[in-house]
Amino acid sequence: MNSNPSEVVQDAGIVYIVDDDASVGEALADLLGAAGLEARLFSSAQDFLQSTRPDVPSCLVLDVRMPGMTGLDLQRQLIALDLTLPTIFITAHGDVQTSVRAMKAGAIEFLIKPFGDQDLLDAVRAGLAKDSSDRREASTIAALRERYASLDAREKEILTGLVSGLLNKQVAGELGISEITVKVRRGQIMKKMQADSFADLVRMMETLRRT
């Protein structure tokens, strides 16, 4: 119960609460506030969609049953807009079908009302942690893409050949250039991609191909 100091310090991020019940929403915001988290309260899914959100790690605490757009609708909409946030659903009914659908669509937790404070805080912290690691990964990928884009066409051809496991000689033969040229170009590619080793380069290409 007692919040240990590390809990309070670590959290930098925003928790968005979307609940049509003012009392529940305020209580949630107060609880998160007491645990040292910044919370923003919205009374409907539409209000949340219309809000401008700062570019910091964040997560969403979402009521399932709301008039107009339900929590599940909002989750779908966010996925469609490519605005996925780690989402914690809260609901009065432990309805299996709904929870399976929510979890399949990527919710990180499904809490049945009324829930324990620690369960919510654990889920929120896991959500914030997931979002910041997602963000780190996204920025890594963006940087990789940028570096890859700086390669010229020939370099990309050579890189593809090398990463697929061909020897310098084989790449040279396939592209109709000398083995020396391949070696020189390979050095330039490593530099442009900021790869420490050939293994590093292969890993980078693997990451790029995955996304």
């Binding site: 119960m1 529940v24 209580a27 107060d30 506030g33 007491a34 009324p114």
Partner: protein, 356 residues
């Protein structure tokens, strides 16, 4: 309907029973003073058949026994005629009384079973419509409970901080008090609804009943994104009615309207509740939706028991609704709504004419 007509004929029943008891001694006298050749005792059948349905099974058997006894007594006391013919006639009479009584009792038992089944079904339908409300009631209670638990946790956390933030603790305690009140209000409304059973007529303001019913149905309406327009003439007189039963009538009609709207797009789910003074000392209430509507050929049947268009329905909702309205001396009917949907009307007398 059936039941109400029967109840209405209370004096007719008393007359029938009286007639049966007067007939018995008359037949006895007739059977005794006439010759053996005249089988007067078969007329006891009339008295027995009159009594069937008015007396209990035991009562009918006792009466039949009495008739048999009187037949034998007449046989002994009849002064004139052929004794042998008299004996045969008495035998035939006694056999007729026995067979008739046996068959009548079988009909009585079957009727009682049918009646039982009907009572049971009414109860089931009541439970079913309560069941539909339960989900919405559970939600209504769970919301404040969630707020209470969460506020409690938040308050404790503010209290445990160094230094404790008492303003925030107070804010959470205030919210807990307000939410506990909210939960107990919901429970009070449910208890009024569940009390049901005995009909208690009192002066009822229609506006209040509509408001109470909508309060209970609120979660369900909101979940289905149904808009409700209320148009109730503020000058309407009160009606003498059972508040809870009237709520049941309204909530059944609202539930039906909500069901009918499920097929519509969420932008156009609309229910309109109106109340106006009618032509003769009555109030006419209408519940109108723009949902899937009713086919004209269904209008007559839909108040019948077991008539349903719902996959999971048992077709008792409107039957119960109608029996409540009629028990209040009113009527219920429906029209297709223009351009789409259905409109249900029911009337309630403003002067208490029902002696029930």
């Amino acid at each position: 309907m059936d039941r109400i007509t029967r109840l209405g004929g209370r004096s007719a029943r008393r007359f029938r029973l009286g007639l049966a008891w007067v007939l018995v001694p008359c037949i006895f006298v007739f059977d005794t003073v006439t010759n053996y050749e005249i089988a007067g005792a078969v007329f006891y059948l009339v008295a027995i058949l009159l009594a069937v349905g008015l007396l209990s099974t035991r009562g009918v058997i006792i009466m039949a026994g009495l008739c048999v006894g009187l037949t034998l007594l007449s046989l002994a006391m009849t002064p004139r005629g052929n004794w042998n013919v008299g004996l045969i006639n008495a035998g035939i009479s006694i056999a007729a009384i026995g067979i008739t009584t046996f068959l009548a009792i079988r009909i009585l038992v079957a009727e009682a079973a049918a009646n039982n089944a009907r009572v049971q079904l009414t109860r089931i339908a009541r439970i079913t419509s309560l069941g539909a409300l339960t989900t919405s009631i559970a939600h209504e209670i769970n919301q404040p409970l969630t707020a209470i638990v969460t506020s409690g946790h938040a308050g404790l956390r503010w209290l445990e901080q160094e230094p404790a933030d008492l303003d925030k603790v107070r804010r959470n305690l205030d919210r807990i008090v307000a939410d506990a009140k909210r939960a107990s209000d919901v429970i009070a409304r449910v208890r009024t609804l569940a009390r049901g059973g005995v009909s208690i007529k009192e002066r009822v303001n229609l506006q209040d009943v509509v408001a109470d019913t909508l309060d209970l149905a609120q979660a369900d309406l909101r979940r289905n994104a149904v808009e409700v327009d209320i148009d109730i003439d503020a000058n309407l007189p009160d009606v003498m009615a059972d508040r809870v039963q009237l709520q049941q009538v309204l909530s059944n009609l609202i539930l039906n309207a909500t069901e009918a709207l499920k097929t519509e797009s969420a932008q156009r789910r609309n229910v309109e509740i109106r109340a106006r003074a009618g032509t003769h000392d009555e109030i006419v209430v209408s519940v109108k939706d723009n949902g899937s509507g009713v086919r004209p050929e269904m209008l007559d049947q839909m108040f019948d028991p077991f008539f349903t268009t719902k996959a999971a329905g048992i077709g008792m909702g409107l039957t119960i609704t109608r029996s409540i309205v009629e028990a209040h001396g009113g009527q219920i009917w429906a029209h297709p709504n223009d351009p789409r949907g259905a409109c249900f009307y029911f009337s309630l007398p403003t002067k208490d004419s029902s002696a029930a």
